[in-house]
Amino acid sequence: MTAIRCINVCKTYHQGRDEIKALDHVDLAIDEGAFVCVSAPSGGGKTTLLNAIGGLDMPDSGEVWIGDTRIDQLNKGELAELRLRHIGFVFQAYNLIPVLTARENVEFVMEVRGVPSVERQKKSREILQEVGLEDLEGRRPAEMSGGQQQRVAVARAIVTDPSLVLADEPTANLDSKTSEGLMDLFAKLNKDHGTTFVISTHDRRVMAHARRLVKMLDGCIVEDIRQKGT
């Protein structure tokens, strides 16, 4: 079963007179339960691709399918519903709501979904323990390091047990030990729950975890490597 399918997806940005092809005729199919790494140098189109898949940004042309829904034709409300119910996000630049504590940030999506508070607490405590932040659950983002914030974001992305996790450079701010731990956690979730992971990175150690490595350059897919499982 195919979880994600991009057909001939193009996205062009205009910067003054320049045209930047952030996605240039991208064709990509990702199976359910896959563990895919998208790697590219900075500016290669990773974030643009993940945003297109996550229903955050509309491609100029082409089709984006999640399961059997063509999402580039959904309206804003339907897209919001899709993101809320089915996708876990780790964004590259900005992830946490400053006025909420670590635990409240983790619970945010559950709360918007209407999960009862007892269940929210149980799940958020478990997941914070798993990312090693059980002692910091009462802290606000400003009181945590970049790495700790990143782990809170990851915790929020996976706590709802979504069918798809889109993580944009999730290890960018982490030391190697923590990022190893995180990748192990992703791999475990992928194996136990069949969660589909699409992770963008230019970190070689992260790439090493992926069973499939999609390399991009200037908005084009230049290599698509199936690796041995880890």
């Binding site: 964004f91 630049a93 709501i97 909420l100 409240e104």
Partner: protein
């Protein structure tokens, strides 16, 4: 989707995020609310005094006359029901404060001068119950009974006539046959009134003495009726109308004194304009605060939208934040206004100003009056329009494009 909890929590925390800005805004709202309530109380107090004094000029929030009396206040137009019967029917109807009077134009003459006045024959016991003008005796004594043959005149009139307590004066009027009747009276007391005109206008004597002088038997020209609150006059008018059953003219003070009731209307308009002006100043501050707050939060609003929160929840977050701000500000403002009222003496002496205001009928002591209805109006108005003013920034926030907010580095 039940997002009320998280929306409230976010609104509350965001409110205290830039607490200095919030406190300044709270001060603005509470001072605004305070000013609205306080100014309204002052205006209400001023008008209330004006009306009370006006009614008290010859008191009675309701007055009964012969239908032609107001056109021609002479002895020809008397109430057909004699005063003895009036007393018994009013007692039967359990109306406590009423006073049958004879009231005719007259000329008063002293050894030195003469002037046109209004001669009022009263029952002093009844007048003191409704606190007529003549009951504030500055010198000498008040009338003692319905057949007291002395007169009480105002200080100013005494000066004009160059007379004083103990001296005699002559009052002249007409009887039913247009014959001149006169009688000598001894001045027994001088009254003071808030309005100088009243001190020059009225001359009081015992009712039966005046009736005898005019030869009108037991007839009276007016019945003044008073109630506990001058604003609740309609039921009283109905009751008195029933007693007289259409044979006499029964009018409330509003109908008797169109000037005073017009003042009431003007004050209501004034209060409204005052509220609007203060609110306009407030709303600029409020909208500015919200616009700034939203501008600072572009990214997190984008983040919430990206995670799947509905624009409606973003909108309500901003509105709720504004409601919190307004509610707290209003609460402080109301308490401030209340405390100010408590701290003020029962009346504010404005006699320096009062000379100029006297023409309008204002007295020289102001009694601020808080009116529950005004407070409710002020609070609802500020809250309602405050929310209305917040709608536009809140709407703007809910329309953010999540991807732009998220990817901005």
């Amino acid at each position: 989707m039940n997002t009320a909890g998280i929306v409230m929590r976010l609104a509350w925390r965001n409110l205290w995020r830039n607490y200095r800005r919030t406190i300044i805004m709270l001060m603005a709202i509470s001072i605004g609310a305070w000013a609205m309530i306080f100014m309204i109380a002052m205006l209400r107090g001023m008008v209330g005094d004006m009306i009370r004094d006006g009614i008290n000029a010859l008191p009675g929030v309701v007055q009964v006359h012969h239908p032609d009396y107001r056109d021609d206040p002479s002895v020809e137009n008397l109430i057909t029901m004699p005063s003895g019967e009036i007393e018994s029917v009013f007692k039967e109807a359990q109306i406590q404060y009423f006073s049958p009077r004879v009231r005719v134009p007259a000329i008063v003459t002293s050894e030195r001068a003469s002037r046109g006045v209004t001669l009022v024959g009263v029952d002093p016991a009844k007048e003191s119950l409704i606190q007529a003008v003549g009951s504030n005796i500055g010198e000498g004594r008040n009338l003692e009974s319905v057949d007291d043959s002395g007169v009480v005149i105002g200080h100013r009139l005494a000066n004009k006539l160059e007379t004083s307590v103990g001296k005699r004066i002559v009052l002249m009027s007409q009887d039913r046959n247009n014959e001149v009747v006169d009688r000598g009276y001894r001045v027994i007391g001088l009254f003071t009134a808030k309005l100088p005109a009243q001190e020059e206008m009225f001359v009081f004597s015992g009712r039966t003495v005046v009736q005898k002088m005019l030869g009108i038997g037991d007839a009276v020209s007016e019945v003044a009726v008073s109630g506990p609150d001058y604003k609740l006059v309609e039921p009283l008018v109905q009751e008195v109308r029933q007693i007289f059953n259409g044979s006499e003219e029964v009018l409330s003070w509003q109908e008797l004194d169109e000037y005073l009731s017009a003042m009431m209307g003007i004050i209501d308009g004034f209060v409204f304009v005052w509220i609007v002006v203060i609110f306009l100043a407030l709303s600029f501050g409020l909208v500015n605060t919200l616009v700034m707050a939203i501008f600072e939060r572009v990214r997190e609003i984008g983040l919430m939208l990206a995670l799947g929160m509905r624009p409606a929840s973003i909108l309500s977050q901003i509105i709720v934040e504004s409601v919190f701000l307004l509610l707290i500000g209003l609460a402080i403002g109301n308490v401030l206004a209340y405390v100010t009222m408590l701290m003020l003496p029962a009346g504010i002496d404005i006699s320096d100003l009062a000379d100029g205001m006297e023409l309008m009928g204002a007295s020289d002591v102001l009694h601020p009056t808080i009116n529950v209805k005004d407070i409710i109006i002020v609070n609802t108005f500020v809250l309602f329009l405050g929310v209305l003013a917040s709608l536009s920034p809140a709407w703007k926030a809910s329309r953010y494009e999540p991807v732009e907010a998220i990817t901005k580095v």
